[in-house]
């Protein structure tokens, strides 16, 4: 419906689920589905406002891996140049999902080596994983997790 913006439609759907549907649903499994749907709509609305969160993830990974490549240039030059090569591969990719895919596959390859310095690459990934998890927690539906117990 062309008259209304996407986020306004989402907001209306969310209100309807909350006000019209949820109170009328008695069955436990269905209730959790409605609650999870409301939470998912909130996440989509946030993406409409702020874009794909992978933009931020990719940006931080490129920055931190770039810093690491510079540090490794002296201590582990071969590994450092492999990290730099990976980053040059991702530089021209605009789609955030594709860029993350390339970074992920590239880092997997880097981590298969047995150089002690690979621990530094792991550390970069661990820091980002912890940060992403913390951000993602906002969209977690506690009722969904609780229902599995």
């Amino acid at each position: 419906m062309i008259l209304v913006e996407s986020r306004e439609i989402l907001a209306a759907v969310r209100r309807s689920l909350e006000v019209n549907v949820l109170p009328a649903v008695a069955e436990d499994f269905a209730r959790v589905q409605v609650i999870a749907a409301i939470r998912a709509l909130d996440e989509v609305a946030d993406r409409l406002d702020h874009g794909d969160p992978l933009h931020g993830v990719n940006g931080r990974l490129e920055r931190d891996l770039g810093d690491l490549a510079a540090d490794l240039a002296e201590t582990s030059p071969e590994l450092g140049s492999r990290v730099a090569a990976l980053l040059s591969q991702t530089a021209g990719i605009s789609d955030p999902r594709e860029k993350y895919r390339v970074i992920g596959e590239g880092v997997t390859e880097l981590l298969t080596g047995d150089e002690p310095a690979t621990a530094l690459i792991r550390h970069v990934m661990e820091v980002e994983s912890a940060r992403t998890s913390a951000d993602d927690a906002a969209w977690m539906c506690p009722e969904a997790i609780e229902s599995l117990q």
């Binding site: 069955e27 436990d28 499994f29 959790v32 589905q33 999870a36 749907a37 939470r39 998912a40 999902r97 993350y100 895919r101 992920g104 596959e105 880092v107 997997t108 981590l111 298969t112 792991r122 990934m125 661990e126 994983s129 912890a130 992403t132 998890s133 993602d136 927690a137 969209w139 977690m140 539906c141 969904a144 997790i145 229902s147 599995l148 117990q149």
Partner: protein, 342 residues
């Protein structure tokens, strides 16, 4: 016999309508003597297989059954409900309390997916963080003892029919391969830290001669209780053969609850079974069990992408992804334990 139109056809992974199930049972399972199926309701808990409570009237009176069906996509592929039922029957024949398998349908064309009909075990269930544990603190120690005793009995089952392995390390590596394949088949975005963890687990599987039947998901919500005794062990889809420490490690971390088998309960387990439970094994299997659960959880994202409709899986996948730092921490703990052992 009820009239069922083509419009009543069942979509795979969805709860079958009573009339359709009634027609099916009359035709394909006459020995059950089904006269009428009154209700089919999905159990709200559970993540993988679709489990429903079936209320029916039979030649012998009213009954309650459990219908357990393979999901359309699911988080623990590949599914094989018939193999799971064979295991349940063998475990039951060994004297353990499990639901009776009443009927298995291996043709997905019949009701939309392969499924089994099992007896409903009457009994009480506890959640891992059950509020009753706070009001009745005396209950926990007793549950803990029964919990350990039953795991010891599971680990003592022979003739379970599952694939055997030469030793515990081979079993662990075989299971790492299973996790690796599941990850490869379900990964929506690459997870380098999980792939790395699988490499670590592959390289560092502890040696050991003893392998046993592992339940693989041994936690309070998968047990039914009556008068303080376990009367039903449910959900065998993650069962496998491996080092007994794996089930113990699962109870300590992934399946953690008041019955975590550590300290005195671990000593009691060793007393009952004679199985070796050392820090090295526990550290390794805590990491393996965490990776296993993470891979299963991450598959929730694939399920959604492929057309799944259970929106809980969005949160499950998010929670699984958040386990990566924990897995890294477990690797560090494994490093430390190995250093001390060396």
């Amino acid at each position: 016999m009820p009239q069922v139109s083509e419009d009543d056809s069942v979509v795979g992974g969805q709860v079958p309508v009573p009339e359709r199930l009634e027609e099916y049972l009359s035709r394909r399972a006459p020995a059950l003597g089904t006269r009428r199926v009154n209700a089919v309701e999905r159990f709200p808990n559970g993540l993988s297989s679709l489990s429903c409570r079936v209320e029916a009237e039979t030649d012998n009176g009213p009954v309650t059954w459990v219908l357990r069906a393979e999901p359309e996509h699911g988080v623990i592929p590949p599914y094989d409900i018939a193999a799971e039922c064979r295991l349940v029957e063998r475990v039951g024949a060994a004297g353990l309390p499990v639901p009776a398998v009443l009927h298995v349908e291996s043709d997905p064309a019949e009701l939309g997916s392969r499924f089994a009909l099992m007896s409903f075990v009457e009994g009480e269930g506890y959640r891992s963080a059950d509020p009753r544990f706070e009001t009745d603190t005396a209950i926990v120690p007793a549950l803990g003892l029964r919990f350990v005793e039953m795991l010891a009995r599971i680990h003592g089952v022979r003739g379970h029919g599952l694939t055997a392995h030469a030793d515990a390390a081979s079993a662990a590596r075989a299971f790492v391969a299973v996790c690796r394949r599941r990850l490869a088949e379900t990964e929506v975005l690459p997870r380098p830290l999980i792939r790395h963890a699988l490499d670590v687990l592959d390289r560092r599987a502890p040696e050991g001669d003893k392998t046993v039947l592992l339940h693989g998901d041994y936690r309070l919500p998968n047990l039914k209780w009556r008068d303080g005794e376990i009367v039903g062990i449910l959900d065998w889809e993650l069962a496998r053969v491996g080092d007994p420490a794996s089930d113990l490690a699962f109870t300590q971390l992934v399946g953690a609850g008041p019955c975590a088998i550590e300290g005195d309960l671990a000593d009691y387990y060793v007393e009952l079974t004679g199985n070796v439970v050392d820090d090295r094994r526990i550290a390794y299997y805590q990491m393996l069990e965490m990776v296993k659960s993470t891979v299963i959880g991450l598959a929730g994202a694939r399920d959604i992408v492929q057309g799944g409709s259970d929106l809980r899986l969005l949160s499950v996948a998010g929670l699984a992804a958040s386990a990566e730092p924990v897995i890294s921490m477990l690797e560090t703990m494994l490093d430390r334990v190995e250093e001390v052992s060396a």
